[in-house]
């Protein structure tokens, strides 16, 4: 059992994260079986899974790659809309909703990945603030396009048009109706599927990070020039992280959309991108476990504290600012560290992990 001995802190930390997700899943399933779950929480299970996937996938871009993307919701949108159209088509021939959903997720993931490449190839030549603003711009472009898209399905197949509804359809039904968005969505998303998607994405991210590709991605974050000096292809690894992240956001979009009967494109706007960013920052940049917890808590909590809902965004804003100052200002950081040391029994040794858990 050489591997067990070799299992370093990172691997152990990843195992804890997997276990946490599984335990949470089992507990919720138990609550569903015994009927001890409130209906409002039950209705949120699928969105929670979707947001968790959004958060961990954005964390891959922001925490691991170290580039700020403000258009993550755009990929979610691309996935949601293409995935639902695919689901509508597949469900004509396939009866099993689970298979339809899986196929739809694959389509949504691939479409989002393609959009990711289209966005990524130009965008990733930039970095820092420029990259952030251009991802924001792309998010808005995707939203703009989807809001003006009309897609119908009839016996002759799919019909598309832009800006004005000029579809000439022979009966059939509208799938995407411009600003009204997706209509008549088959509600095939289930909590079990959400759980599976979370696990799959976690598996991919953890294994990616702990491989040579993941190391290369983190090397770019730490020092681009040094990475080039050891022969690491900056653009291709940047693109890889970006596209994987986009594909996952697309799958999350399919899961999210198929939980509701109608979905509008404006749901996936800059505010959603920033909400997901809040999850990532609050959970800790690079920490997948943190993202999962933050996404779950911040999705459940507002429902429970409905009377404070108007303060929610205000609190998020303050949290973002305070978190950044607390983790980046030398004076504040030292004070906090000193404070933490006083109250912890064992001093944590220098951490050898950086992107996991």
């Amino acid at each position: 059992m050489n591997y067990l001995k070799n299992m370093n802190k990172t691997t152990r930390s990843n195992m804890v994260t997997y276990l946490m997700v599984i335990v949470a899943f089992v507990i919720v399933q138990g609550m569903i079986a015994t009927g001890s779950i409130s209906s409002s929480l039950k209705g949120q299970l699928v969105p929670i899974c979707a947001y968790v996937v959004m958060a961990i996938s954005l964390n891959l871009t922001v925490g691991i790659l170290g580039e700020l993307s403000l258009g993550h919701a755009g990929f979610m949108s691309a996935g949601a809309f293409s995935g639902v159209v695919a689901a509508q088509c597949f469900s004509q021939n396939i009866d099993n909703p689970v298979i339809v959903l899986i196929l739809a997720m694959i389509v949504g993931g691939i479409v989002a990945a393609i959009v990711g490449v289209l966005v990524g190839v130009p965008v990733l030549r930039l970095s820092g603030d420029y990259l952030a603003i251009v991802t924001l711009a792309f998010g808005e472009i995707i939203k703009g396009i989807v809001m003006n898209l009309y897609v119908g399905l009839d016996a002759a197949g799919l019909h598309f048009c832009m800006i004005k509804n000029t579809l000439e359809m022979d009966g059939g039904k509208m799938l995407i109706n411009g600003p009204m968005g997706l209509i008549g969505v088959p509600r095939i998303a289930t909590f079990v599927m959400g759980f599976v998607l979370v696990m799959v994405c976690l598996f991919v991210i953890f294994n990616l990070v702990n491989s040579k590709s993941g190391r290369a991605i983190m090397a770019l974050r730490d020092n681009k020039i040094a990475a080039q000096s050891v022969g690491i292809n900056v653009t291709s690894y940047k693109l890889m992280a970006f596209v994987i992240s986009a594909a996952m956001a697309g799958m999350a979009g399919v899961l999210f959309a198929t939980n509701f009967s109608t979905v509008v494109a404006s749901k996936f706007d800059i505010n959603t991108s920033i909400l997901v960013l809040v999850f990532v920052v609050l959970g800790g940049l690079g920490s997948m476990r943190g993202s999962i917890i933050a996404a779950t808590v911040l999705t459940v909590l507002p429902e429970m504290l409905r009377e404070f809902s108007e303060y929610r965004m205000l609190v998020y804003a303050i949290v973002l600012i305070v978190m950044m100052i607390a983790t980046n200002n030398a004076t504040v950081k030292n004070a906090l560290d000193g404070f933490a040391r006083k109250f912890s029994f064992k001093k944590k040794s220098e951490k050898g992990e950086n992107a996991n858990g």
Binding site: N207, L208, K212, S213, R215, M218, Q228, S229, M240, N354
Partner: protein, 276 residues
């Protein structure tokens, strides 16, 4: 094709490397920044297993030469032949793959990663599995990761750093960071290693140890080393050939003895004597 006999007038070749094609031949190398010639008509030849030194006053353009050789900057003039192959049109990544590795004057490590991961990043292009094989944890992944792990520790042992493998690179003391940069560069299996002020910030005993290690590296790996250094003791001690740069131009070349006796060099370092 590689020239078999190096140009004697620009060469710094030791007898050991004579008769073999030089590893590096740079001719008429130059770069301008907005009309200012930072490096001009720079010629150097480095033998296969030579330890060569590049010295000169601050701001002479030494690091710029390294940046030209490693294509951090694209030269505006001249050619660079690495092992007889023209590196024209290559970028920094391709130059590294072709066989030049370097360290940086202002240390550039992957600070949030561990020492071992830093070295493994040096081994990146010699670790052979695809991203998919990595994600799916195929046998190839385990095999290659194990190999990389062992190789990384082996390389770290040159500087007796294997016990630091799990520490974060950013938490290492200054001297150890400089050594780690050398190990990381070595991991890319270069034919030519460029060291930019490897002894900067080291105390005399650390410097002495470093000198030993630089020789050891050359002997073990049979590679050429070109270094920039201000510590004259180190340079005169271990370099077999030295080139002196001032205001972007080479003003002298030769063995340590010749350089020490060269009036132009003394002038560049100490300034011109006032004539009464």
């Amino acid at each position: 094709m590689a020239k078999m006999v190096p140009i004697p007038s620009t060469g710094l070749l030791t007898e050991r490397d004579l008769g073999k094609a030089p590893i590096l031949e740079a001719t008429h190398l130059g770069i301008e920044f907005g009309g200012l010639k930072a490096v001009d008509d720079f010629n150097i030849t480095v033998g296969r297993t030579e330890i060569a030194g590049l010295i000169g006053p601050n701001g002479a353009g030494k690091t710029t030469v390294f940046n030209l050789l490693t294509k951090v900057y694209q030269p505006t003039h001249g050619t660079i032949l690495l092992d007889g192959k023209d590196t024209h049109g290559m970028n920094a990544i391709q130059v590294n793959k072709a066989g030049i590795a370097r360290t940086f004057q202002n240390i550039r490590l992957f600070n949030s990663l561990t020492v071992e991961e830093n070295v493994k990043l040096g081994l990146h292009n010699h670790t052979n599995y695809s991203t998919l094989e990595g994600i799916l944890r195929m046998p190839k992944y385990w095999q290659e990761e194990k190999r990389a792990h062992e190789r990384a520790l082996e390389l770290l042992s040159i500087f007796d750093m294997q016990d630091l493998a799990d520490h974060k690179a950013g938490s290492l003391p200054y001297g150890a960071q400089r050594r780690l940069e050398i190990v990381r560069a070595l991991a890319t299996e270069p034919k030519l290693l460029l060291l930019d002020e490897p002894a900067a910030g080291m105390n005399p005993s650390e410097t002495a140890e470093l000198m030993e290690n630089i020789r050891k590296i050359r002997d073990t790996f049979q590679i050429a080393i070109l270094l920039i250094e201000h510590d004259m003791q180190l340079v005169m001690n271990i370099c077999e050939g030295i080139a002196v740069l001032n205001y972007g131009k080479i003003i002298a070349k030769g063995t340590p003895e010749e350089i020490q006796a060269n009036p132009q060099v003394i002038e560049a370092y100490l300034g011109k004597k006032k004539e009464d």
